[in-house]
């Protein structure tokens, strides 16, 4: 299963203004949003843009990750780097946006990991290889998991439309 390094450790209540500042909202396409991910954290944004964050890396956060604005850019900009977000819990709209656009995220109520730690996802838990501790992943409701399994809301809706049209 997926293994990677924690490249960013964040506190509680990280808003979508922090993930994707409002002044870049005129940029909407998922192919263009990643350049502005965490733009106000100049150092981390540069690391991302310089291609120094390998695919499969992790961002670890506390409670209420993605609170505030419904801007979907906040989910698509992280997805662009193939980063997985592990948080104690997520704000509702961000959680749904992540599922819809295919951003890998895990609700992990007890997660404890620092920057530089190696994490590995094993079925229903996140294993911190650095500290030797493991943390249970809270499963998503089946209806949401079905969208992830379909590859996101676009393919999911496409098949539903075809089914209903046929």
């Amino acid at each position: 299963m997926a293994k990677g390094t924690v490249v960013l450790k964040l506190e509680n209540d990280i808003s979508t203004d922090i993930i994707y500042p409002g002044r870049f909202m005129a940029t909407v396409l998922p192919s263009e949003t990643p350049q502005f991910a965490f733009a106000d954290d100049k150092e981390f944004n540069k690391t991302l843009n310089d291609g120094q964050v390998p695919a499969g890396s992790f961002i670890v956060a506390g409670d209420n990750f993605g609170c505030g604005s419904s801007r979907e850019q906040a989910a698509s900009c992280i997805k662009g780097y193939d980063i997985t977000v592990v948080a104690r819990n997520f704000a509702r709209i961000f959680l749904q946006n992540s599922i819809n656009v295919g951003l890998q995220m895990m609700i992990c109520p007890e997660i404890d990991a620092g920057e530089g730690d190696e994490l590995e996802v094993r079925d229903d838990e996140v294993f911190n290889l650095t500290t030797g501790k493991s943390f249970a992943i809270e499963p998503l409701p089946q209806a949401r998991q079905a969208i992830i399994d379909a590859g996101g809301l676009i393919p999911y809706t496409r098949s539903l439309l075809l089914e209903r049209a046929g």
Binding site: T27, L29, S69, L153, T157
Partner: protein, 429 residues
């Protein structure tokens, strides 16, 4: 077992006798609102139809509302091009509820929807904006969604996988003291619940204070319910709802009114005695960092912002204009006023409020989201401090991560404009 207002609404919306918390529903949508991010919705909508052989038509052009408000008039060629492409799509699809950059019909989406009678009690209303919760003030189940979710709504006419939320009942009794307003009440509540205290839940407002509150104040409460993480805020409709819809929004159609069951089951009941409330301030950098004004009085302010989908209505502007009339905004402090719609702007002009504000030194800007989210006008300089009647004070919110934003009521903003520091309106005559 009785149902909450929203449970009842959802049961009706999907034609069932009852729904239980946690049930997963596909809900027919009554109104689907977007603003500038319609540009992304359009892109995702076309993606859904790609290679299907089906024609990409929206399910019902009369149930889609698009309002340009986040960057009006366009601040960049990129926004102007997004506006242009969106207009072309609207025209091709025959979308009727379109509010362009115009003085006769324009404004902020969360004011345009109520004042044009688009919002109805019992309606399922989704919007690609987190403050879509605003419309619960008129008894709708109104919540924010992302752009891809909206693209699916445009295609299907329904929203998939809605989990019936639990409800927090907030009962506000007593009487709001002089100088204390709906904004203070909701700031207090967000502080009490925390920024995630209502995550995945609905906040249902009850009590004598709510009954006596005009729709303008109810819109403030429901607007900021999302700052406690709530999926939606709602005021069960009553005589005031009917008055507003008929007299102010021009609705003549019959209204579908119902109430929560007396034995409805709530996740939590919060009782607030309004009589004890003081003016409240949300301090940087989270909306739940709320203090009674005494704790932050005297803080020097560089920029005051009055407006937004929270507090840019006529009664808000009236309070500010009456306080500033014949006086002056303190030297060293800038004051920006953004009415929530051009209708409000015009009413404020005719009432003489705009003249009073301008004479006092305020800059009256065109209706729109303005500096609230730091994407258009009124950005802050390094280390500057803003005091705003808006709804968010996140780091970087007003365009500069090195600045601070405090949130308050229009009365506090007005009193503070005179002194250049956070000032208790109860101490200003």
């Amino acid at each position: 077992m009785g149902m909450t207002y929203i449970q009842k609404l959802l049961a009706r919306a999907c034609g069932r006798d009852m729904v239980a918390v946690g049930d997963i529903l596909e809900l027919p949508v009554g109104l689907a609102m977007s603003h500038e991010n319609a540009a992304l919705v359009i892109n995702q909508f076309k993606e859904i139809y790609r290679d299907t052989g089906l024609e990409a038509r929206v399910w019902d052009p009369d149930r889609i509302a698009i309002i340009f408000d986040h960057r009006v008039p366009a601040e960049s060629s990129k926004t102007a091009t997004n506006h242009k492409r969106t207009r072309e799509f609207i025209s091709r699809q025959g979308i009727t509820k379109f509010h362009d950059v115009r003085g006769d019909v324009g404004g902020i989406c969360h004011q345009i929807l109520p004042e044009n009678g688009y919002v109805r009690p019992g309606q399922v209303l989704v919007g690609t904006d987190s403050h879509t919760t605003t419309h619960g003030a008129l008894g709708a189940f109104a919540f924010g969604i992302g752009a891809t979710e909206m693209a699916a709504v445009w295609a299907l006419g329904s929203i998939l996988n809605v989990e019936v939320p639990g409800t927090i009942k907030v009962e506000v009794n007593g009487e709001l003291p002089k100088g204390v307003y709906a904004k203070d009440l909701i700031l207090h509540l967000v502080g009490l619940l925390s920024a995630e205290g209502a995550n995945f839940k609905v906040i249902e407002f009850h009590g004598s204070v709510i009954r006596n509150l005009p729709t303008s104040g109810r819109l403030v409460l429901c607007n900021m319910a999302v700052e406690a993480g709530a999926t939606a805020g709602v005021v069960p409709p009553d005589e005031e709802t009917c008055r507003y819809l008929r007299d102010e929004a021009g609705v003549s159609a019959e209204l579908d009114l119902f109430v929560a069951d007396p034995d409805a089951v709530y996740d939590r009941v919060v009782e607030i005695d309004a009589t004890q409330l003081e003016p409240q301030i949300a301090c940087p950098h989270t909306v739940d960092n709320v203090k009674p004004i005494g704790g932050v009085k005297g803080k020097k302010i560089n920029q005051i912002v009055v407006g937004s989908c929270t507090n840019g209505r006529l009664d808000d502007i009236e309070i500010v204009a009456n306080t500033l009339k014949g006086k002056h905004v303190a030297e060293g402090t800038r004051m920006l006023v953004f009415p929530a719609s051009w209708r409000i702007y015009t009413d404020a002009m005719e009432a003489g409020y705009l003249r009073d504000l301008i004479s006092a030194g305020a800059v009256v800007c065109n209706p729109g989201c303005g500096p609230c989210l730091g994407i258009h006008q009124g950005a802050l300089g390094d280390d500057e401090v803003a005091l705003a009647t808006t709804n968010r004070n996140f780091k970087g919110r007003m365009g500069n991560p090195g600045a601070e934003v405090y949130l308050c009521s229009p009365a506090v903003a007005a009193a503070s404009a005179l002194t250049g520091m956070i000032t208790d309106p109860r101490e200003v005559n």
